[in-house]
């Protein structure tokens, strides 16, 4: 099967700065892929290269098999991009904006689909409002609609929920899930690890222009993250048998690490045998944030 997006040894240099230092990855059709990384890691640069907004210094990207430089017309038809910045053209209304975008992609008489997209994004009541008059959240919805007017099989959302209120975030998440169910490949960059964990089946992590992790969300969570057990103990000391599990302590508060739930019993047994009483107890499941922090630290 032809990958939805295939990135091969992509490098991008701005003078002495290497924004991307040889990134390769492949995103399969129908995937919900998360691209994570701190600011300046190269996420937006990589997306821009895939969208033809930036030229790679070396390597290449294909969208549904079409080279983004050599076969740029086919590649761009396959891709819908929701940019990070809230950009808009202040001269036009929502409907005009969407009609133009549709026309740029060579589509005429696309009114029915435009109406449908506006309906799904709750934009219908604003169809004839000038872009200037819309709230930030509404402008964000228009950006999403613009990326969808040509029904692209691959949709890239560059931090779609940055600075978005809870309600719109939930609405966008649901909408993105539905697009994915309808067969669209989704690529999402985000700072919100919770978002990636919730939506993405596979995750790539970038740091300083390099891909430092690439795996399914589940594998990443299992490989890198155990359970975190937070305890407050009566005697302010940890039985020696439990010392190897200690991550950190503050007074009578102890942070222990467990590989899985079965180890909980051993910990409780150890505490009972030492005559310790538990004053507070909190067991946290693995989360992507911990994975992220560890991977980033490992490559520091």
């Amino acid at each position: 099967m032809v990958p939805a997006i295939e990135v091969q040894n992509v490098e991008k240099r701005y003078g002495a700065l290497r924004a991307l230092a040889g990134v390769s990855l492949s995103i399969e059709p129908g995937e919900m892929f998360g691209l994570l990384g701190p600011n300046g890691a190269g996420k937006t640069t990589l997306i821009s290269i895939a969208a033809g907004l930036t030229r790679a210094s070396a390597g290449g990207v294909r969208v549904m098999g079409a080279d983004v430089v050599g076969e740029y017309r086919r590649a761009r038809r396959m891709l819908g991009v929701v940019p990070q910045e809230l950009v808009f053209d202040p001269f036009f209304t929502v409907r005009e904006t969407l009609r133009f975008q549709s026309g740029y992609f060579g589509l005429r008489d696309n009114g029915d689909w435009i109406d449908e997209v506006m309906h799904h994004l709750d934009l219908t009541s604003k169809a004839d409002a000038n872009m200037r008059t819309l709230s930030g959240g509404m402008k964000r919805r228009v950006l999403v609609a613009q990326a969808l007017v040509h029904k692209p099989p691959v949709i890239v959302l560059d931090e779609p929920t940055a600075g978005v209120d809870v309600e719109l975030r939930q609405a966008l998440w649901n909408f993105v899930r539905r697009l994915n169910r309808d067969g669209h490949t989704i690529v999402l960059t985000t700072h919100y690890l919770e978002e990636a964990e919730l939506l993405c089946t596979r995750i790539g992590m970038l740091k300083a222009g390099r891909l430092v992790a690439l795996d399914s969300t589940r594998n990443l969570l299992e490989t890198f993250s155990g359970l975190q057990l937070k305890l407050r103990l009566s005697r302010e000391s940890l039985p020696p048998a439990l010392e190897p599990r200690l991550v950190s302590r503050q007074g009578d508060r102890f942070n222990l690490r467990l590989d899985d739930y079965t180890e909980l019993e051993q910990v409780l047994v150890g505490l009972r045998e030492a005559g310790e009483a538990i004053l507070e107890f909190d067991l946290q499941p693995p989360d992507l944030e911990e994975v992220f922090v560890r991977i980033m630290n490992r490559h520091a």
Binding site: A51, R55, R99, G103, Y104, F105, Q146
Partner: protein, 251 residues
């Protein structure tokens, strides 16, 4: 083709929505020039021995408005899109660089010609104009607006800030238009300035355009046409080359 037509239409709609500023204002400015210069000079100057100064001035003002508005349209549209970031909507779709060029330049020409016709219509009331060779006039109006439309694209691509664009407009375009014989025949200039005018391509646009009205000009119209056509070829090639390489647009 739909992509090109859409971009062309969008560019037309952009200036049409603010027609007061993009069409009415330049027409008024040209009328003010006519009012003032004609008032002062009408009784003193006869150009080419037979042409009254006011009549001489009108084609110059028309062409000056055409050129300035062609430049203003493409340059301001592009820099606004760059600075607000909405240029991305034109860069993401499969629009070729030739279509991009064509849409912006044709829209600039459209605005320039609408303004030019407006100036002509507004001033024709006050002046008796002959139209000796209309095809020459049309040819120079089309080519002149295409050249300045291309130049506007180059300036819009190059400029990162509004003041850079303003500098281009005020320090390059304005002196070239004002010193091109809009307000005078270069034969009334001292030799040095006459020779220098020969290096100003805008002089040939104005002079050739004026020939279309009076059938007389400083330079034979075919010579002017060759210069202007050559300028267009060079500028169009340069603009296409910049767009093809994505200079300052896809970096």
């Amino acid at each position: 083709m739909t992509g090109f037509l859409t971009l062309f239409y969008k560019e037309l709609l952009r200036f049409w929505k603010v027609a007061f500023q993009t069409i009415a204002a330049p027409v008024l400015t040209a009328m003010l020039y006519l009012l003032i210069f004609a008032q002062v000079l009408e009784d003193h100057v006869l150009v080419y021995g037979t042409v009254r100064y006011t009549a001489f001035l009108v084609p110059g003002l028309v062409m000056m408005s055409v050129l300035q508005n062609a430049f203003a349209n493409s340059s301001s549209s592009l820099i606004q899109s760059k600075i607000t970031g909405n240029i991305i909507f034109m860069l993401l779709p499969p629009i070729s660089y030739i279509q991009f060029f064509g849409a912006y330049v044709l829209a600039s020409m459209a605005r320039a010609l609408v303004v030019g016709l407006g100036v002509l219509a507004a001033t024709a009331w006050f002046v008796e104009l002959s139209i000796a060779a209309p095809l020459w006039a049309i040819a120079f109006a089309l080519l002149g607006s295409a050249i300045l439309g291309s130049l506007g694209l180059i300036a819009g691509i190059w400029a990162d800030k509004f003041d850079q664009l303003a500098a281009f407009q005020n320090f390059v375009i304005m002196p070239l238009t004002f010193l091109s014989g809009v307000f005078y025949s270069i034969h009334s200039l001292p030799d040095f300035w006459q020779d220098l005018s020969g290096y100003n391509p805008i002089f040939y646009m104005i002079d050739g355009f004026r020939y279309g009205f009076f059938g007389v000009s400083d330079v034979p119209p075919a010579t002017s046409f060759a210069v202007v056509a050559g300028c267009f070829a060079i500028l169009a090639a340069a603009t296409l080359w910049l767009l093809r390489g994505g200079y300052k647009l896809r970096y």
